[in-house]
Symmetry: D2
C-alpha cells in the first residue's frame, strides 16, 4: 500500500477503522480534536457509529456499552477529558471488556495549556481509577506508530479483554508524516461473551459487581493473572545503539525521537550513549531495562513531566545502577542540545571514579 502523508491524530482513526473499529464516542479537546473530527468522517463511512457525547463521562460509558455489545470501539481525549473517563475505565476493566482510548497529552494540571507534555503517565499507567486494574499502554513516537500501535491496541484489547490506551503527546498527535496503513480487516463477529440484543446472548451478564468478597477476590485474582501474563508476553521497547552503551537514555513518545538525536550527537563526541524507548508503558519493559543494566553505568530518564516514568525505571533497576533524571514541562520540549549537555555532565561524573553519584 502506498504511503499517505497523514497527521498523527488522523492516523489513529484510519488505523482504527481499518482494524475494524465501528464505534467512536468522545468529546473534542485540543490537541486531540482531530481524532474526533476524523472519526466523525471515517467511522460512519465504514458503517459504524460516531457520537459526540455530552461529556467525557458520557463517552466513557457509551464506550462501555458498545464494548459490551462486542463492537470494536474507541474514544480519545487529552488530560482533562481523560480524567473524567477514569471511572469508566475502571468499570470497563472490571467487566473485562476490550476498547481503545487515545490520550494525546497536553500540559497540566488543571486547564494547563494545549502544548505537549507527558504528565498523564501516572493516571494512565498506574491506573487513575479505583480498584486493582490496569490499562495496557502503548506509546507511539511517530505517525507510523500512531497507526501501527492503534492496530496493535485493538488486538491487545481483544486478547486481554481490557482497555488499551494509546498514550502520546500533542507533538506526535499534530505532526504529519508518510504512513503505510495495514490492510483493512474484516469486522469480526461479536465475541460469544457479548450482549448483542438477541435472546441467545441474554444470559451473557456484563458487569463488574461481585457482592461476595470471595467471588470478588477470585475475580481480582483472575484480572491479576491476566496482567501478569501481559507482563510476560507483551512488553515492548526499541533499543537504539545500546550494545556498548555506558549511559542508557530512556524516554517515550516525542522524547524518543529527541533522544535518538542525542545519541548520535553524543557518539559523535565519543560518548557511548544508547537509548531504550519503551513502546509499552504498561506492561513496562522492565526485563529489557534490567538486561541493559548489567553493563550500563548509568541510566538517564528524560521526560516532559516532573518525574513519572522515572519511577518505573527505578522500580525495574532496583537500585543496581544510578538513574539520572532530566525534564522540561509546561509545553516545553527538551531540545537535543540541552539533553546532550546534561548527558555530558553526567559522563564527566562517571569519569571521576572517586565521585559519588547522587541518585535521583
Amino acid at each position: 500500500m502506498r504511503k499517505q502523508l497523514t497527521k498523527g491524530n488522523e492516523a489513529v482513526v484510519k488505523a482504527a477503522v481499518l482494524a475494524g473499529c465501528r464505534a467512536y464516542y468522545g468529546y473534542p479537546i485540543t490537541p486531540a480534536s482531530e481524532i474526533a473530527e476524523a472519526a466523525a468522517l471515517y467511522v460512519p463511512q465504514a458503517g459504524g457509529v460516531f457520537v459526540q457525547a455530552e461529556s467525557e463521562v458520557a463517552a466513557a460509558n457509551m464506550l462501555y456499552g458498545a464494548a459490551a455489545a462486542g463492537v470494536r470501539s474507541m474514544s480519545a481525549s487529552s488530560g482533562p477529558g481523560i480524567s473524567l473517563m477514569q471511572e469508566g475505565f475502571s468499570y470497563i476493566a472490571g467487566a473485562e471488556l476490550p476498547c481503545v482510548v487515545a490520550d494525546i497529552m497536553r500540559a497540566g494540571p488543571g486547564l494547563g495549556n494545549i502544548a505537549p507534555e507527558q504528565g498523564d503517565y501516572n493516571q494512565i499507567v498506574k491506573g487513575g481509577g479505583h480498584g486493582n486494574y490496569h490499562t495496557l499502554v502503548l506509546a507511539p513516537d511517530s505517525v507510523q506508530e500512531m497507526a501501527d500501535l492503534t492496530t496493535l491496541a485493538f488486538d491487545l484489547a481483544d486478547r486481554y479483554r481490557n482497555p488499551v490506551v494509546v498514550l502520546t503527546d500533542g507533538y506526535i498527535g499534530q505532526m504529519m508524516e508518510p504512513v503505510e496503513f495495514a490492510a483493512p480487516r474484516a469486522v469480526p463477529p461479536p465475541p460469544e461473551w457479548a450482549v448483542t440484543g438477541t435472546a441467545a446472548t441474554r444470559p451473557n451478564l456484563i458487569c463488574s459487581i461481585y457482592l461476595e468478597p470471595d467471588l470478588m477476590e477470585r475475580h481480582v485474582r483472575k484480572l491479576e493473572a491476566k496482567y501478569r501474563r501481559a507482563e510476560r508476553e507483551e512488553a515492548r521497547a526499541e533499543l537504539y545503539r545500546t550494545g556498548d552503551a555506558e549511559i542508557v537514555l530512556v524516554g517515550y513518545g516525542i522524547m524518543g525521537r529527541v533522544l535518538k538525536a542525542v545519541v548520535e550527537q553524543a557518539r559523535a563526541r565519543g560518548l557511548a550513549v544508547g537509548l531504550l524507548r519503551p513502546i509499552t508503558l504498561y506492561p513496562f519493559p522492565a526485563a529489557q531495562l534490567r538486561e541493559l543494566g548489567r553493563r550500563a553505568k548509568a541510566f538517564a530518564v528524560v521526560e516532559m513531566s516532573t518525574g513519572q516514568l522515572v519511577d518505573d525505571v527505578r522500580l525495574a533497576l532496583e537500585g543496581r545502577v544510578p538513574v539520572e533524571f532530566f525534564s522540561r514541562v509546561g509545553g516545553n520540549v527538551p531540545s537535543a542540545e540541552e539533553v546532550l549537555a546534561f548527558v555530558e555532565q553526567k559522563f564527566a561524573l562517571l569519569r571521576q571514579p572517586e565521585e559519588v553519584l547522587i541518585h535521583g
Copy 2:
C-alpha cells in the same frame, strides 16, 4: 474533653467542623455515606453549607468554587465516586487551592462491592488526574485518627494550598471507638488570595491555565518545589517495635492494626518483627523506611490490594533489602493468622543462609 463513642465516618465530619470546615459537597456512596449524612447535620448547624450534588463531578467542582472563596471545604466518597472527582482534583491542585476529601475505600474495580479494600492507593497517591500534581494523603488506622488526621488535613491543605485526601478503608470508616475531639477552631477569615465576591478581591484570579509554556513550566516547578518541601517536612509514620526488627512489616489503615497483632504474636514465637505504618502516604515516609532498611533483613508489605503500596516501599528501599508481599482483596481482610504464617515462612527462608530470596 470527654471521649465520645463515634463512628469513623462521623469522626471525619465532627473533626472537620471543629477545624472550621463550613462547606461540604458530595454524593453519598457506601461505605462513605455516613460522612454525607453527618455533614448534612453538622455543617449547617455550624452555619455552613451542605449540598448533595447531582454527581461527584459536580461535587468536585463545587469544592473547587468554595475553596476559591477561601472557605474550608470538604467532600467524601468511595472508589467509583472518587474516580469521577479526578478531573476536579487536578484543577484544584493546579489552581493551588486547599480542600479536604475523604476516600473510604471499597472493593473494585468497577462496581466491585462495598466491603473494605485498599485498591485506590495509586489513584490517590500517584495522582489519578492529569498533569504533574500530587494530593497529600493521610491514612488513619483508628477512629481517633479519623478525627486527628482530618484536623491535620485542613492544616496541611492551607499550608500547601493543595487538596489533602484522608484515605482509609470501609473497615475504619464503619467502626466505632471513643474519640477525643480537638477544641473548636475559630473560622479563619478568607485568605488574601480568595475571591469572596467583593470588589477588593476581584483582582484575585483563580485558575489553572497558563497558555505560555514558560509560564506553565514556572508554575509546575513552583508546585514541584512545594511537593519537595512537603516530602521533607510532612512525612509521618508510626514505628512499632522496630528497634531490633529483622523483618519489618509495612501496612496502613486497617492493616496497621492487624499487623500490630502479628508483631505481638510473632514476637511471642521469638521472631524479631516490627511494623512501620505510614501515616502519610504522600509524602511517603521513605527516609524512615530507608533508615530501618539499614538493619532489617527483609520487609513485608501487607496490603488489601494486588500491590500498590509495595511499589513505594520498593522505590524507597532501592533494592537494598528484599521486599516481600502479601495481600487479600475483594473485601477480604488478611487475618493476623494468615499474615503470621506468611511471616514465619519468610523467616524460615531468612534462616537458610544459602537460600536465595525471591524478591517481589
Copy 3:
C-alpha cells in the same frame, strides 16, 4: 404493498425510515419505548444514526443539531420526557428547523402512571416552551395513521421548517393493526440552508438569537406568518356522520374510535349524533368546527384530560353553540357506554326547549 400487522409505536418508526428519517435521538419511556427500540433496529439498517441519549434534554439538543445539518431527524417520548424537551423545541422552532417528535401520552402529572391519557395537550398544542412559537401537531387514531401521519409530519416539518409532533396516547401506541406503508422515499439532499460541515455551508448560520429587538420582532413576525399560513392550509379533521348531526362529538386519538362507536349506538337509538375528529390539533380545525356549528345544536368534547382540547373547541365556536364536556383520566378510557349515557342526557336537555343549558 401488502399490509403488515404492526404495533402503533413500531409503525411510527417504519414510516419515519421510509420517509427518509436517518437520525433518531431519544431516551426510552413507557409507553413510548418501542419507538426507541424499533429506531435502534431500523434507522441504522437504513444507514442512519440512532443514539440513546443521556437524557431527554440531551436528545432534544441532538435533534436540534441533526436538524441543523439537514438530516430528517426524530425523537419520541411520553409526558415526563417531553417536558424535558420543551426548551429544545423552543430553540428548534426559533431556529426554524424541521424535526418530528412523537409523544405517546401517559397519565400525569408527575410520574403518574403508564396508562393512556391525553393530559399533554396543552404542553404540546399551546407550546410548553418559552416564547412565541408553535409545534404543528398531528393526532393519529389508528396504527395506519401512526404511519401516515408520521410521513405527513416529515413533509410538514420540511415545508414549515418547524417541529411537528405526532401526539397520541398509549392506547394507540400499543395496539397492533394491519398497516400499509408508503413506498420508501429517496433521502433528499441536505437543504441549502443546512450546515453540513463543508466550507460551502459555513455561512449558513443556524441560531435563534436576535439581540436587536427590531430584528427579533421581524423574526417573530416571520414565524407568525408561517403559523398563519399553516392555519389556513393544513388544518385537517375527519367528519363522521355530521351531515345531519344535532350533537357533534369532538375527540382525538383513541377517543375518536370510541366516539365512532358512540355515534353508531346513538343513531341506533334515533339520536342525530356525528363526530368531528381533529387530525391536526395545531393548526386546529376551527373553520370546520364553526361550519358544523351553523347547524348543530350542541357539541360534546370527550377527552382523557380534565379539559384541554375543550378550550380550543370553545375558542373556535366563540360561544355560538353550547359545548359540553365529558372526561375520564388517570388511565381510564371513557367507554362508549358511559359516553352514550352522557350524550343521551344532553339530548334530553336539548329536547326541553325551556331549559337553559349550562355551559362549560
Copy 4:
C-alpha cells in the same frame, strides 16, 4: 416600615425572605439574574440555603426536595430556564407541594434576546409540563407588587399545596421603585405532611405516582377540585376607570402601566376607555371580564406576544363582545402612543354602526 428604593428582581427576594423563604435553588439568566444574586446574599443571612444548581433541571428537582421537607422554597429564571423546569413543575404539582418560582420573561423563542417580552404566558398559564395540572400565576406590574405578590405567592402555595409562579417581564424585573415591605414572618414549622428526616415523618410519602388508574383518577380529580376552588376564590384583577368604559383594555405586567397611560390619554380625547389588568393569570379573572362585558362594546388586549393572553380573554367572553388585539414583540414594548392610535381606530369602527367588526 419606611419605603426602600428597590429593583424589581431584588424585591422578589426580600419579600420571599420576609415571608419565611429559607431555600433558593436556581441558575442565573438575564434578565432574572439579580434574583439569584440577591438570594445568594439574603437567604443565607436569614439562616437559609442558597444553591446555584448545575442547571435549571437540577434547580427544579432541588426545589421539589426542599418543598417536600416543608421548607418555604423558591427559584427563578427566564424563558429558556423555565422551559427546563417544566418537568419539575409537573412533579411538584403532582406531589402537591408548595413552592414559588419567578419567571422574568425575555424575548423568544430559543435564545431570543434579553429584552422584555410576554411570550411565556402559555407555558406558565396553560401548563408547559405534562399531565393535568396548573400553576397559580401572579403578574406584578410594579416593584411594590413584585414584593406583595411574592408574599401572596408563598401563602397561596401553602394554601393550595401547589407551585405558584410570579410572572413578569424584564421591564418590571429591572426597574427600581420605592417599596414598602411586609413585616417579617416567623418561619412556620414544617407542615405535618412534610418529610423532615425524622422517624416520625417517615410514613409521609411524597410522590406523584399512582399506578392504579382509579387511584390516579381520584388524585387528578382531587387536584382538579383544588383548581376549581382557586378559580372561585383567588382570581384577582385591577379595574381602572371601567365604570363607563366602552372599550376595555386588557394587559398585564408592564403593559398594565402603559395601558393606564393610554386610558388617560384616550379619556382626554373623550373616549370612554378603561382597563382590566389581570393580577392573577391563573386563575383567570374571567368573571370580572364577563361582568365588564355586559356593558362594554369591545375589548382590546395588548400583549408583548403574538397572542396568548388574548385566548383567555376570548374564552372568558365567549364571543359576546368583540376582542381586538394589538401586540409588539421581540423586546419592543408597545408605546402609549401606538396603543392609543390602535384604540382610536377601533373606536372609529365602533362609531360606524353599519360596520361589521372583524374579530380576532
